[in-house]
Amino acid sequence: MTAVLELVNITKHFPGVLANDHINIDLQEGEVLALLGENGAGKTTLMNILYGLLRPDEGEIRVRGQRCRIDSPSDAIAQGIGMVHQHFMLVPTLTAAENIVLGQEPVWGPFLKRGEATQRIQRLSEDYRLNVNPGARVWQLSVGEQQRVEILKVLYRGAEILVLDEPTASLTPQEASHFFDILRSMVQRGKSIIFISHKLEEVMAISNRITVLRRGKVIGTVDRRDASEAELACMMVGRDVVLRVSGEHRAHVRKEAVASLRNASVVGSYGTYALRGVSLDLYPGEILGVAGVDGNGQTELAEVLAGLRPLAEGEMCVDGRRVPAGDARQQMELGVFYVPAERKKRGAVMNLPLHVNAILKSHHAPPYSRKGILNHRAIRAFTEEQTRHYDIRCASIDVAAGTLSGGNLQKLILAREISSGPRILVAEQPTRGLDVGAIEYVRRLLLEQREKGTAILLISADLDEILALSDRIIVLYAGKVAYECENKGVSRETLGLAMGGALCA
């Protein structure tokens, strides 16, 4: 076997983060190499470098032993590297064939040689048993079919090396098993595949070798035959000592649950079930940590509690009373406040001033407005007070929220939600992308809030954060509660296995 692709000493800095730290990876001809790692481990950065979307600070890429520069996706394609993204990039109103040839249409003068394109696609589709009807419009296709169109698109461009980014994330189990058949048939025909995943079971099922990334470094590469799920889980989440911001998690005198979900199922943005029968209880003065890799239903869980997403099945109770789901105003009045992961798209209005953002949730009530009329003096005084009290660094309260640094923006959002006097606080990835100082500050605020008796749902893909702050922990995997425990002597390995889906029934 020869290496078709080598990544040598790839290093990439982002401000404050070392996303890739001297990474070495090689891909052999005709193999499936799995790239395993948590969110933020550096997988996506690495693949973006390979596909010419980012340029490395150091290191080189070799294709079949030849050093080459890849400055754009078209360079990558020219080197025979094709990428299938997690979220498909297809034009829904065009046919499968039109999407596949888009950008490389066989033309005769100004005319598309439709027949030729269709024939070639048909042949490729049969060769790899992809079963794509070239004439079908993309919007009519299921998610699995759309993915096969994406794969065809890459094959059509002559790719020998395929990079698949979380390819099974939005597939049903049946579609996923069909997908693995396709992978095998591609390998048989000499293609080499990099398969990015966080699902241990899949990685064990399909790959020849597995490279594990953590915090921008290669932790190790193992042969599938020598690997076990437990070992991979350990490599993925690490065995580091957990630094605690707080002293101890608390042994609780449980009171009544302030909010609970029973068998909650919701339909996510992609039309599939994002939560499947989740039940949980939130108690006053307790932090419930939700661990899991992104995209396993965490955002939808937060949205249900915040009243932004209706329930397909199941029920939600606040103070023991059943309440209708999907009413944001009602949830606020019940005392549910929400710090979203999407700070810029949801948590703040980036092109409006701080004093507008500070009262997003309270502008309709005194003292900020009376009978529909705003009280600018009260609004400004409140905003000034907030920026002082929470140390939000800004030129003035008249600057747009978009001018704040990530940490200060998050402080603004958190301050707003906390100052509303929450009884239930949903914090989704509250420290993602922040610098160390801001992380500590945000964590301290969350703990303070717990002392005040707020029930907190802490959603985080950072296992350290979950272990440092939570009193209880649940792990979400594929929309289900895969594991549940007190935060007392639980091993990272167990949590890692649950996050990778290895503990699912």
């Binding site: 944001a328 949801r346 703040a348 997003l360 009329i373 705003l374 640094s405």
Partner: protein, 347 residues
């Protein structure tokens, strides 16, 4: 803040200057002296009391319709139906003026304003309701409703509401108590200008000092954040379209009750479409819209004079108007780009 505020005035000014420079080139190409032509333009718009009167007469409907359009644009609702809403407003006023007998002015004038606002608001509100209920695209709905409104006006003034004393398609004169009096003797300037100025003040207050204004600004800037904050975005859409249509309706009222004193078939010189340009030139701020409406009115009146006095072809006049709009809008793009670049560095 001050530097961005300064540039928000300076850059459009610069754009207008550029437009006039380009216009000068065209005028020269047409064989006329740009200096003479522009002098005629300024003189025709502001030369004497009558010129001022005409400019302000033109400002009035443009300002009201521009305000209405701006209210919708602020909430990122693309109401391009001011033209139809103007028609409906005029018909509302006409109903009061033609069929409610001889009213005293202190009853008649408020009544035509209310009727016009309500009719325009209703016309806009329908589009708002369709958007809220069925996610109907407001651009298409309001555009189509313009044609419907025009057809209704044509039908009424040519049929049931036609002046019995005439065969031409226009209504009879409104009753005296429903006519807006002239406020600048010797000119056609009527009390509608006060309606327009009051509307500017009201819109400014609404936008900057009420919960409605706050919410519509947030919805326009980031609908997801508005939803997250528990705002009733559906209600906001309908209400905004009602207010927007109502203000455009007032433009129709002042035009028929202040100027022609009856409804003519084509009484609106595409004010509703010019209003779109004015709302954008004014950066959807009520005070900005007032300035933009005044500038545009002066440009229209002045260009007419330029055509009459100097013989500059009318097409060049239209090109000049188009250039002003294009360059000011383009300057908005550059301002945004610069801001984006600055923010990009902050990330």
């Amino acid at each position: 803040m001050t530097s961005s505020r300064l540039s928000s005035v300076l850059i459009p000014m610069l754009a207008i200057l550029c437009a006039f420079a380009a216009g000068a080139l065209l005028i020269a190409l047409a064989g006329k002296s740009p200096v003479v032509a522009y002098e005629a333009l300024i003189r025709s718009a502001f030369g004497n009391r009558n010129n001022w009167g005409e400019t302000l007469v033109k400002t009035t409907p443009l300002l009201l319709a521009g305000l209405g359009t701006a209210l919708a644009f602020r909430a990122r609702i693309f109401n391009i139906g001011a033209e139809g809403q103007i028609q409906m407003g005029a018909l509302g006023a006409a109903f009061v003026g033609l069929f409610l007998g001889n009213l005293p002015a202190f009853v008649g004038i408020p009544l035509i304003l209310v009727a016009g606002f309500a009719m325009g608001g209703l016309w806009g509100g329908i589009a708002g309701l369709l958007k809220k209920q069925f996610r109907a695209n407001e651009i298409i709905v309001t555009l189509m409703m313009n044609y419907v409104a025009l057809a209704i006006t044509s039908y009424l003034v040519g049929g049931p509401w036609r002046d019995p004393a005439s065969t031409e398609p226009y209504t009879a004169r409104f009753s005296p108590g429903t006519i807006l009096p002239v406020v600048l003797p010797g000119t056609r300037l009527h009390a509608g200008i006060f309606v327009a100025l009051l509307a500017v003040a009201a819109a400014w207050w609404l936008v900057h000092h009420t919960v409605y204004g706050y919410q519509s600004t947030v919805v326009g800037a980031n609908e997801e954040a508005a939803r997250y904050s528990g705002m009733n975005t559906g209600l906001l859409i309908v209400l905004t379209m009602f207010l927007s249509g109502g203000l455009a309706g007032l433009a129709g009222v002042v035009e028929v009750a202040g100027l022609q004193h009856r409804v003519l078939q084509n009484f609106s010189a595409d004010y509703g479409y010019t209003a779109i340009a004015i709302a954008m030139l004014g950066r959807v701020e009520p005070l900005g819209v007032a300035v933009a409406a005044f500038l545009f009115a002066a440009l229209v009146i002045g260009s007419n004079g330029m055509q009459d006095l100097v013989g500059v072809p009318v097409s060049i006049v239209f090109i000049l108007e188009g250039l002003v709009l294009l360059l000011v809008l383009a300057s908005g793009y550059f301002r945004r780009q610069r801001r984006l670049e600055r923010e990009g560095e902050g990330c």
